[in-house]
Amino acid sequence: MITVEGINKTFGDNHVLHDITTTFEKGKVNLIIGQSGQGKSVLTKCVVGLHDPDTGSVIYNGRNFTEMDRKEKVSVRKEIGMLFQGSALFDSMTVEDNVMFPLTMFTNMTKKEKLDRVNFCLDRVNLNETNALFPAECSGGMQKRIAIARAISMKPKYLFCDEPNSGLDPKTAIIIDNLIREITYEYDITTVVITHDMNSVIEIGDTILFIHNGRNWWEGDRTSIIKTDNPEILDFVYASDFMKEIRASMRASRS
């Protein structure tokens, strides 16, 4: 479980995060949603330590991450896997070397043990026999799955995914969503996903945090987000005219 308490973050005069408090639960897919520029990525970067919050704290299973020195933070980071928006695979390395990299850096496994683990992770994301390819030779969906394989190679306790579906077609996006959900339940990890994709919200959102103007605007789950009357959420969920029409017809049929 990850607890976020009263996080504030400013960049110059721009106050991006206002006193955000929330909890990301273990064994669940926790979504952070909201429009672009509302502070979702900044919040996530504060949680994983890529940004230092101005005030507030991030607590990983009772350990206050914000008060740790670099060495202590490194020990927590070894428990974190992260899937970046652009996959962030090392383009000078093959798929195998990418997935093997954390194992080489932080374990004393033999070459065979590492290779077995890499093959297991690649098999888990349905990408066996891609070991020798370079990231540039893989499609966007494959790159995301390789990044997931790399993120789970160290058996993380926490998985962060920054817009895992961006740039993917709807079918591949669903495959990635399902993979994230399966991995979360299978390994009983705390997963935090930033997304704009309403499909993802409905499909995998066990808990949902809606960020608006850098504030914790609303929290709930996939059932309650459909029923809410919060105008900002309605504006986000039913953004297109088509969705607005669907909502109106749903309401009409209900009444």
Binding site: L50, V74, K78, F84, D91, P102, F106
Partner: protein, 257 residues
């Protein structure tokens, strides 16, 4: 008044960058996460920065050595100057200035832009964030092998450059008939001081450090996209070239005078 404010802002930016550069260096020279990985990275960088620079250093050195020898010969109008002076001047120019300084300026373009764009691209594509999230000190992992690789290998390149420049000078003189092999070799051996080689190699080590650390600095702190990475590479080359010229002045003051 407005001009003074502008000047002050420029000075503050320079001071802030120097401060950031120093902080970066302090982090770079931390203990690597794993020595076996570091050793592999070091040899990779020696290959990329050093060995891959051998062809350009070779070609430049032969032709520059040839030009130095020809220009010296063409300016030797006085009959009082012995012919072996051509070899002496070619050797001195090559060891003292051409091989360590001019070659480093050329390498600032090749190596500096390469390092800045490589690290800058890694930054903008979040590969550096990925390293940090894994718990890897990205500066030590990426930059330290580059700095050490170049500091170890630049002296080798300089010795190689000195040798090929002297060969280039000899070839140009013999082929043009301006001096004989014997007098050229006599000139090269005249008043030779080993301290000159030490001076050249010291400059090479300092310049290697400046080129790679400055390029890494601009790459690591790149923001934005491809255009910004390009700008960082340009700044890296310009700044490291200026740093080389300034360091050259002070090293000459300290070592030769």
């Amino acid at each position: 008044m407005k001009k003074n404010t502008l000047n002050l802002a420029v000075v503050l930016i320079i001071l802030r960058n120097i401060g950031k550069y120093m902080i970066m260096l302090r982090i770079v020279f931390s203990r690597p996460e794993k020595w076996s990985v570091f050793r592999v990275r070091l040899f990779e960088e020696i290959q990329r920065i050093g060995i891959n620079s051998i062809p350009i250093v070779g070609v430049m050195s032969v032709f520059m050595g040839g030009v130095i020898a020809l220009q010296t010969a063409s300016n030797m109008d006085s009959p009082l100057l012995p012919e072996y002076t051509i070899g002496f001047i070619t050797r001195s120019s090559t060891i003292l200035e051409f091989s360590p300084t001019i070659m480093s300026l050329i390498l600032a373009g090749k190596v500096g832009s390469n390092v800045a764009s490589e690290i800058g691209t890694m930054k903008t594509t979040e590969q550096i964030d990925a390293l940090e999230i894994m718990g890897v000190n990205s500066l030590t992992h990426l930059v330290l092998p580059k700095i050490l690789g170049s500091v170890f290998f630049f002296p080798v390149l300089i010795i190689f450059s000195i040798g090929l420049s002297l060969v280039g000078g000899w070839l140009s003189l013999v082929m043009s008939g301006l001096a004989s092999t014997e007098t050229y070799i006599l000139g090269i051996r005249s008043w030779f001081e080993f301290g000159d080689i030490v001076y050249a190699l010291t400059k090479g080590v300092v310049f290697a450090f400046l080129i790679v650390s400055i390029a890494s600095f601009y790459g690591y702190y790149s923001k934005g996209g491809a255009i910004d990475v390009g700008k960082s590479a340009t700044k890296a080359v310009v700044t490291s070239s200026i740093a080389i010229l300034i360091a050259n002045f002070f090293l000459t003051q300290m070592i030769l005078l």
